[in-house]
């Protein structure tokens, strides 16, 4: 029993980390219809900024998170204006080519500017120690990641479903021409949602950095993971991404405990099974 609880706690915290780093991509892919393979690159930029802020400048962790989110958005604005705007509505393959190109370029620059070594983000002492759950201890930063995940999920749901911005965003996505005719400035809506998605990527990069350490190839290493979580959940669905992340986290964690040597088999077989049964993802809207 104790083991089951313990594995459950691991699965939950891992799943929440998966969720928080993937949710931004779900926004770009589901709402903006852009296959953004550079998502991991933005998460990585966020991680680098936070690492630099805490290690080199000695800033506190909270400030570093805000700096990472804002700094990454700042990098993303010109990219959106000059590159991404050209591929809204383009065929998927064109988007793949462009965003892989951007990823390559960012990796090269990161390698040049930050060096090839691992970078860590200094955690405040409250997040460093273990926390006693009664049946076991768990690292405080994992609980923190899970909490951030919950907050992000609720906030996003609120923004998209309950604010005027959310209404405009959904309108622009469903029918850009009609939304434009009704006076919605779709370009600005798109730019803002792109910035939002990138900010989420950066946040995920920072909060998830304890499990997915920051190094130049971060952008490519975890690309598949992000893609899988988003599409299993159904692009654009917050609940879907959450359920998918928790489910896949559980499959992977249990697999790693019970039969580590076949861990990846479990994971991908689960992916195939889910996608075959739900071709649009668990919570995806059918087309």
């Amino acid at each position: 029993m104790q083991t089951i609880l313990s594995i459950g706690a691991d699965a939950l915290s891992y799943g929440m980390v998966l969720f928080i780093i993937s949710i931004g991509l779900s926004v770009t892919m589901g709402l903006m219809k852009v296959v953004n393979l550079a998502h991991g690159a933005f998460a990585m930029i966020g991680g680098y900024i936070a690492s630099y802020a805490t290690q080199q400048m000695g800033l506190p962790f909270g400030v570093a998170i805000i700096a990472a989110v804002l700094g990454t958005m700042l990098v993303a604005v010109p990219l959106e204006r000059f590159l991404y705007r050209r591929i809204y509505g383009a065929p998927e393959l064109t988007q793949v080519l462009m965003t892989i190109g951007i990823t390559f370029a960012i990796i090269g620059i990161a390698n040049f500017a930050m060096g090839p070594t691992l970078k860590t983000i200094a955690l405040p002492s409250q997040l460093q120690g273990p926390v006693d759950l009664g049946f076991r201890t768990i690292a405080a930063h994992k609980l923190f990641a899970a909490a951030v995940g919950v907050v992000v999920a609720i906030a996003l749901w609120f923004i998209i479903e309950r604010t005027p911005f959310g209404v405009r965003l959904r309108a622009s996505v469903d029918d850009a021409a009609m939304a434009g005719a009704l006076g919605i400035r779709t370009k600005i809506i798109y730019a803002v949602s792109f910035a939002l998605a990138v900010g989420l990527a950066a946040l995920g990069g920072v909060v998830g950095a304890q499990l997915l350490p920051i190094e130049p190839y971060y952008a490519l290493h975890y690309m598949v993971t992000f893609l899988v979580v988003v599409s299993v959940g159904g692009a654009g669905s917050i609940t879907g991404a959450l359920v998918a992340a928790l489910l896949l986290g559980a499959v992977q964690t249990t697999g790693r405990y019970l039969m580590p040597e076949y861990g990846e088999f479990f994971f991908y077989l689960a992916v195939i099974a889910i996608v075959c049964v739900f071709p649009n993802g668990l919570m995806g809207r059918s087309k």
Binding site: T3, V17, N111, L118, T137, P213, T253, R256, Y257, P260
Partner: protein, 388 residues
């Protein structure tokens, strides 16, 4: 006097007539990509050697030609190697970080009349792929085997092995298990983890449940080591007194800063520590740090490259700059010298280094984390090598 002059004159004449003055060395390594740090260390080792010894050997000038091979990719390795031999006209091949890349280059050597000095790739069988392969790094068997003795000396009876599920991990597991069971220990479980594992908590739970007194782990140097060591500490294994034993890949120096306090006290066995205390190493570290730009990025591939350059220089001396792969390899069989890592020699049987393997403990010194050598296993051969 005149006789001496005449002799040196004829010597100079014949040798300059005997061969052209530039000798090219082709170096294949991961200069970009996930292992770019290791490629950078190849370059640092080479540059350090050139800075200390100059780029001339006799009348010949050495020129290094770099080729990038970012990931294991035998087809590209074969293409690059062929191009280096045929188009660049290199007389020596060197580098090779990954085993399949070295394996793909080996079949070309004999026809190309080119010796290959492996700076890193650590699978025992590589030296069997061609008689023209010489290796100045280590094998995973070589660095893992002494850990069995360490464990027994510390009174450990039950061990669980946990390794990354790929060639070197499997080698490391086999080496430790062989040594440890022979010494009377018991392996309670052997676990192999997929390469892209990033959350090690479930693994730690398994280690806990196995009831072992110590865990023997192998992970390739790089990102995964961070998560592994962190999970080891955060899941309370360190506090519970479960000793973590590993070959030095787990605690390569550039990763230590990221591992931080979590790593302090870890025991690893390896052939080289940047902190090795010897005059040779002092000279090397100073030159290599200058070459790589920052001492904190210096790691074990640099010493493989540095010693490799020494071996190539001996080959060039022995052949007088002529392209004769067989003679060059023959000349360095049995060669022994004092490397920055300690005394080493080339085993004439398998052209691999016999060297000291050190037990090291991660410690903090002057604000830096280092691998402090605390015990020496002298003149270790490669226990994983089998005659073809």
């Amino acid at each position: 006097m005149s006789k001496l002059l005449l002799a040196s004159l004829t010597l100079a004449l014949t040798s300059s007539v005997a061969f052209a003055d530039t000798i090219k060395i082709g170096v294949v390594g991961p200069f970009s990509g996930p292992a770019a740090l290791q490629g950078k260390n190849f370059q640092a080792g080479i540059d350090a050697w050139l800075a200390i010894n100059g780029n001339t050997i006799g009348d010949d000038t050495i020129e290094i030609v770099y080729r990038d091979l970012p990931a294991p990719d035998p087809a590209q390795s074969a293409a690059l190697t062929q191009e280096l031999i045929v188009s660049e006209g290199v007389q020596y091949l060197a580098g090779y970080y990954y085993t399949p890349d070295a394996m793909a280059a080996a079949p070309i050597l004999e026809e190309g009349n080119v010796p290959m000095v492996v700076f890193n790739a650590a699978t025992s069988a590589i030296v069997n792929a061609s008689p023209y392969v010489v290796r100045t790094s280590f094998t995973t068997w070589q660095t893992s085997t002494p850990m069995a003795a360490v464990a027994r000396e510390r009174g450990i009876d039950k061990v669980i092995t946990v390794v990354s599920d790929y060639g070197p991990g499997v080698d490391s597991e086999a080496a430790f298990v062989a040594g440890f069971t022979e010494a009377g220990g018991e392996i309670v479980e052997s676990v192999r983890m997929p390469m892209n594992t990033n959350d090690f908590s479930p693994m730690m739970q398994r280690i806990k449940d196995s009831g072992a007194e110590a865990v023997f782990a192998f992970l390739p140097a790089g990102p995964a080591t961070l998560g592994f060591v962190q999970a080891y500490v955060e899941n309370g294994l360190k506090d519970a007194g479960v000793t973590l034993l590993a070959p030095g890949d787990l605690t390569q120096e550039p990763d230590l800063a990221a591992l931080g306090d979590n790593a302090v006290g870890l025991l690893t066995t390896f052939h080289y520590a940047v902190s090795h205390d010897s005059p040779e190493n002092e000279v090397f570290v100073e030159a290599a740090s200058k070459a790589i730009g920052s001492a904190s990025e210096l790691s074990f591939p640099a010493v493989g490259a540095y010693d490799g350059m020494y071996v190539i220089s001996k080959m060039i001396e022995a052949t007088g700059g002529n392209q004769d792969a067989a003679a060059a390899v023959e000349a360095v069989k049995g060669l022994s010298w004092v490397s920055p890592r300690g005394p080493v020699s080339i085993n004439p049987e398998n052209r691999h280094l016999t060297q000291n393997i050190y037990l090291r403990e991660v410690a903090q010194e002057d604000g830096q984390y280092i691998n402090r050598e605390i015990q020496t296993f002298e003149n270790q051969g490669d226990p994983g090598w089998k005659a073809p």
